[in-house]
Symmetry: C2
Subunit: 470 residues, 2 copies
């Protein structure tokens, strides 16, 4: 009579849930014995094109399919020798916090509920860790791209010089709104310019110095030139930790320039911002606390599982003004479930949002900010160790200076050899670095945001590189 | 020496994880005995402003804080008598799938991995359920707002008449790009216009008929008027299930109009699209399969936990062309972990994405699409039952026709009385409907996307309404 998706037999479901926990804990506690990555067999590819299930196969059979077809074949970022792109490992506590978040399943637009206060508390903590002032606004996001896009959206709203929400960028006369970043900035900048209707052509890409940092003099000249041409510079995007080499722009100089020019100072600190947690590393990213808006991820160098990024905005009123809501059905009352309104839906794109905050909250409580700082320092020390070993090896060369935790190197052989080395490292399941181009040459790139790596893993990497080269 | 966020004692962590599973299953299996919502005591509000944890308190203590401060005080959407706004309950299997997704923690931009194939398979299944053609493209999103925004972004790209990615909407001559929706469309439409730089002023709000459906004749006139004025109509937003009353626009008529006018046909089917799963309800939303782009949520009427929405785009090439990536460090190779590239990052905003697909995949396998259809039908029958009981009661009145699963009603007393009734229902923990304004009058709104509701729950609601009114 009354149908539901709750289990008909709670005890049986509970047994299955406990089995799942045992299986994944077994998996996570033995990662070191597993290959860094394994290619999928054709049988799995075929299974994953099976037709739409019309009839039920039951929870246990669905789980068996997961065990057979999915668990053995992810991209590998759980493991101790995964250093590809920039991906965190996730943590066992983060995993269980995600389960608790999904169990409680609160609607995180706001509402008169504890989960909303948890997110606000986490945002305050994160602002404090970034040494931004009390009263800084923020929002947790799917990741860096959206966090960065939100920063740029607030900059556009605050600095357009007209009501950009109402009028948009079309159908009325206004100076071209221009934005600045370096040639090493991440692809999100282009995507955000496109999505926001500013257009890629209004993104001024400024050259970099030999340490891959934006040339501040060229940036100043670029802004002046655009002003002379009647354009309106609205925002500079600085990067704390570029994706290619980990380079950190001269943040204090850019902050000064933005102040003098009355231009929004946005910092993309996707992974690099986390260096703020360490007193030892903080000087490298100093100036970040002067950002008008700052984006970073907790699922990269915060080690937490996907997804959780963060945007912080110094001017809370500008943040809210950019995304303030209207609508009869969401108007706040002063009592009941919606008392206090939906403040978290007035800080970003989403109205419906999940409880990403819980894993941040539980992790900071369980481990303390200090433990994260020590792990971040450990990764930087590992990068320094790896760079030293490469410098000491006559067959290998560093192709970019080490700024933080990204090591770009190559064998002194040609590009083809280096590409083959990288493929074999992955295909043999030894390690997963990724690739990039530095000065037009193929480079093996080791981005270390991994809490499972040990020093010996980098020895193993270099031994395998040398072996594959012969 | 080697620090990590893995547990020092796996057995102890495993015991804690099992305790968490027992606790949440205990919580979920006794929801019927719990209040529909409870206000937070001041002690909890105070605890949730505690300072940043610098030092570790351990995993167990962090969990105790969750049990004390968070678990008892969500916004209430788990329970059988929550019908506020439009929120799903989540499911126990969805919860465990979220844990498995977080355990595996794959980076869902693409990559040569099974999780990416799971998402592609789920997208094919969802396109089939929506009766859209083979080859339809899609992407899972945080929810309806972003899914809808993506549809509008593709429409903008496909129909602007110039290279909107490169040029943006500024700095060059072009006709005003205009978009159309009804006055009952959801607030996402305004937000998307603003974010995309089109501007709220270019969103034409067309009036509705007495069933709250867009007036197609006025829509046709509006498009013609804009063309006469030199503007360029690019997209019509139709709604399958408005947020206020559940009204369904005349989709076939709008599809015809869009075809004749060469305008993009976008459908916001946030919850209503799910009626496509039921042969009985499908005629009400017929025409949805003709959409150029369609947005809907699995975390509303798909009952799954937050977050999982979906955007489907008929023209796969237009979809990819809108979000195609560039960047040295992500260029695909033909072997190894990145073979096949990052197709899922070329369909939406994010580069880093979580494994939202797993809960959809496991749920469809475990229960079959048929079980979802039966639950959706059950919710519609419950809405019909509630509407009948209201019509039969001389003290109560329906304030909008019942189109699907949203019942808007009021006591025949004044607005103040109705507001007081709603507050007491929530504060006493009886039930959580929400409010809206219909024709300027306060209405109690019951949106039924709840797999835990039984017929008796609606009796209980009306009994409490009558009691509170006296």
């Amino acid at each position: 009579m009354n149908k539901t998706l709750d289990p008909a037999d709670w005890a049986a479901f509970s047994a299955l849930a406990h089995r799942m926990v045992d299986d994944v804990i077994g998996h996570l506690s033995t990662l070191r014995d597993q290959p860094a990555w394994r290619p999928m067999p054709d049988s799995v590819r075929t299974a994953l094109t099976a037709p739409l299930p019309e009839t039920p196969q039951g929870e246990t059979a669905a789980y068996e399919d997961f065990l057979q077809q999915v668990l053995p074949y992810p991209n590998g970022n759980l493991g101790p020798r995964f250093w590809g792109w920039v991906q965190g490992n996730g943590t066992p506590l983060g995993m269980m916090a995600d389960m608790l978040a999904s169990a409680l399943n609160p609607h995180m637009a706001g509402f008169n509920q504890a989960p909303a206060l948890v997110e606000l508390q986490v945002l305050d903590w994160l602002a404090e860790l970034m040494q931004m002032p009390k009263g800084t606004s923020g929002i947790l996001t799917s990741g860096g791209t959206v966090a960065n896009l939100l920063g740029l959206a607030v900059a556009r709203h605050a600095n357009a010089g007209f009501n950009v929400r109402e009028l948009g960028l079309q159908g009325h006369e206004h100076p071209l709104l221009t934005v600045y970043c370096s040639t090493e900035a991440h692809g999100w900048a282009r995507r955000a310019m496109e999505v926001l209707g500013l257009g890629n052509a209004a993104l001024r890409r400024i050259g970099v110095d030999d340490q891959f940092r934006i040339r501040v003099d060229e940036l100043r000249d670029g802004i002046a030139r655009d002003r002379r041409d009647g354009h309106r510079p609205i925002c500079v995007i600085a990067t704390a930790g570029t994706v290619n080499t980990g380079a950190i722009d001269d943040l204090p100089a850019i902050a000064d320039l933005c102040r003098d020019e009355d231009v929004w100072f946005h910092v993309d600190g996707a992974f690099g911002a986390l260096a703020m947690l360490s007193p030892k590393l903080r000087p490298r990213v100093a100036g970040i606390e002067r950002a008008d808006s700052l984006a970073f991820d907790l699922h990269k160098w915060g080690y937490l599982p996907f997804e959780v990024g963060c945007a912080l905005v110094r001017d809370a009123e500008a943040h809210r003004a950019t995304f303030e809501l209207q609508g009869n059905y969401i108007s706040a009352l002063d009592r009941g479930v919606i008392a206090g309104g939906l403040p978290l839906a007035e800080r970003g794109l989403e109205l419906t949002r999940g409880f990403k905050a819980l894993k941040v909250w539980m992790s900071l409580k369980a481990y303390g900010a200090g433990a994260l700082a020590e792990l971040i320092e450990q990764n930087v020390e590992q990068a320094e160790y790896l760079a030293r070993r490469i410098e000491d090896d006559p067959d290998l060369e560093l192709v970019a200076p080490l700024a933080l935790n990204v090591v770009c190197f190559r064998h002194r052989g040609n590009d083809e050899l280096n590409r083959e080395i990288l493929m074999r490292l992955q295909e043999e399941g030894v390690a997963v670095p990724s690739q990039t181009l530095i000065g037009g040459r193929f480079a093996i790139r080791v981005a270390i945001t991994n809490h499972r790596s040990r020093l010996e893993d980098f020895d193993l990497l270099l031994d395998a590189v040398k072996r594959c080269a012969t």
